[in-house]
């Protein structure tokens, strides 16, 4: 029971940190809640997106010149593979159902439970 009897020497430090966290968050939220911050943040994102877009377009031309597939080509291929996989999976499920005995469904308990105070 020493915890109750003796004061925690680190308690003021913890309290100070907690207060600092609240103040820092509050101050940052005030700064981030301005038009200036929103404008700057979105401008930075637009610059990043423009760079990404330009780089992507340049890479497409470069890869085409080398007769190599671009990211978009690979994604299209991936989509087509995904569609084939889905169809194969559904065919496999149908075949499994036809050829193998069905797996026993999950044994569920009876749906008879009632709340403690409910009328029977």
């Amino acid at each position: 029971m020493a915890d109750k009897a003796a004061p925690d020497p680190l308690a003021p430090w913890r309290e100070l940190l907690s207060q600092w966290e609240k103040s820092a968050n509050s101050l940052a939220n005030r700064g981030m809640g301005t038009d200036g911050f929103s404008g700057s943040m979105n401008q930075a994102m637009n610059v990043l997106l423009t760079g990404q877009q330009s780089l992507g377009e340049a890479m497409v031309k470069y890869l085409a010149a080398l007769n190599l597939p671009s990211r978009a080509d690979l994604l299209t291929l991936g989509e087509q593979l995904g569609a084939i996989e889905t169809q194969l999976a559904s065919i496999a499920r149908i075949l499994e159902r036809q050829n193998a005995p069905a797996a026993p469904p999950l044994e569920l308990p009876p749906r008879t439970k009632r709340p403690p105070r409910a009328p029977q």
């Binding site: 004061p7 749906r111 439970k113 409910a118």
Partner: protein
């Protein structure tokens, strides 16, 4: 002052000093363990994947009681995060609690959308994914009635589903669900249509990267991440604290990317137009009117929710047409209201009592 009284006064102080020394040593030892050990396992309640459609996974948890309530529960997880926050670990799991209390629990959980799923629209979630899962739960359970429980954006999707499919569900439960998006002030500011070019973002990136979503949440409380590390150091001697910290940290870092068109719809319809709150939201050719929800409804909000403030979530219960409806404000934050030790004392018993009366 005699020798005995001096001893009795200095004893607690000596005990305290001894305790602090022990904790300092434990911090050093546990600090090494922390770095060397893998993150704790999460989402360990036994379950079965019963349906998958791209980004959507429908899990059925194995019942953990001898008899269960007639009405199954379908949990709709927020699209930004993994559902294991509601099933962190034995003893810290809302799902496990509900299973032990006799509920039959399903969960719609999300995987990162594939590149081709950038075309998923908002209505794919409300008018395709949820109805498919409700139908599957009905078929599997043999029951017409289903309780839908949505967390955060999962609550938004569930409410819209409930409004557009009035006969679709039996009870509606929402946790920390925003309806009036004009009240999410910082997100509003950052998504200001004068500066934020959502079309350019989606057209360039396809799916919206998880990092962007994660930073958005983190920027709401920029000092808290650093403070979390300080708190971790301070509590390194405490195994329970460290375990819980690591599970929540892992979950926070597991933020999901969002399907591009879904994000575009969310930004334009909810953030810019505030269409759900204003009653002008149209999806799949129909207007979404929350007053068409007439089933029993419970909305649980958090007193210290920094993501969805009370002003944003309060209109849900006010808007819906049910007679049996209740808004409960509990102590806690956006996550801690539903998961963690305080949730197990506050929310879980309340939810159990509310659901039990409406699930037989």
């Amino acid at each position: 002052m005699n020798a005995a009284s001096v001893a009795s006064e200095t004893e607690p102080l000596a005990e305290r000093v001894r305790l602090e020394i022990e904790r300092t040593i434990a911090r050093s030892i546990k600090g090494v363990e922390y770095i060397a050990s893998p993150a704790p396992a999460v989402g360990s309640s036994p379950k079965e994947l019963v349906y998958k459609d791209g980004t959507l996974n429908l899990f059925h948890y194995h019942p953990q009681s001898d008899e269960i309530y007639r009405v199954p529960i379908l949990v709709v997880m927020a699209t930004t995060n993994k559902g294991y926050v509601l099933d962190l670990a034995p003893g810290q799991s809302l799902v496990e609690f509900l299973l032990r209390r006799g509920f039959d629990v399903y969960m719609m959980d999300w995987s990162p959308p594939r590149p081709d799923e950038k075309r998923l629209r908002f209505e794919d979630y409300t008018h395709r994914f949820i109805p498919s899962c409700v139908e599957l739960v009905r078929n599997r359970s043999g029951e017409r009635d289903v309780t839908v429980l949505g967390y955060c954006m999962g609550g938004v999707l569930s409410s819209i589903y409930a409004a557009s499919h009035p006969d679709g569900i039996t009870n509606l439960v929402c946790f920390t669900t925003p309806i009036d998006f004009s009240q999410m002030t910082l997100f509003q500011k950052w998504a200001d249509r004068r500066y934020f070019d959502v079309d350019r973002l989606v057209d360039t990136a396809g799916n919206v990267p998880a990092d962007l979503i994660f930073r958005g949440f983190e920027m709401l409380r920029p000092a808290s991440r650093g403070m979390g590390q300080v708190q971790l150091w301070d509590n390194l001697w405490n195994d329970d604290f460290v375990r819980s910290f690591r599970m929540f940290e892992r979950w926070g870092n597991d933020t999901l990317p969002l399907a591009g068109e879904y994000f575009r719809d969310t930004t334009k319809m909810l953030m810019w137009e505030n269409a759900l709150h204003r009653g002008t939201l149209e999806l799949a050719g129909e207007r979404i009117d929350l007053s068409r929800i007439t089933v029993p409804a419970l909305h649980v909000t958090a007193e210290h929710d920094h993501i969805v403030p009370a002003e944003a979530s309060k209109p849900l219960i006010e808007s819906i047409g049910s007679h049996d409806k209740e808004n409960v404000v509990l102590k806690g934050g956006h996550v801690s209201v539903a998961a963690g030790p305080s949730a197990s004392r506050r929310l879980w018993p309340k939810l159990d009592a509310w659901l039990a009366e409406r699930s037989f």
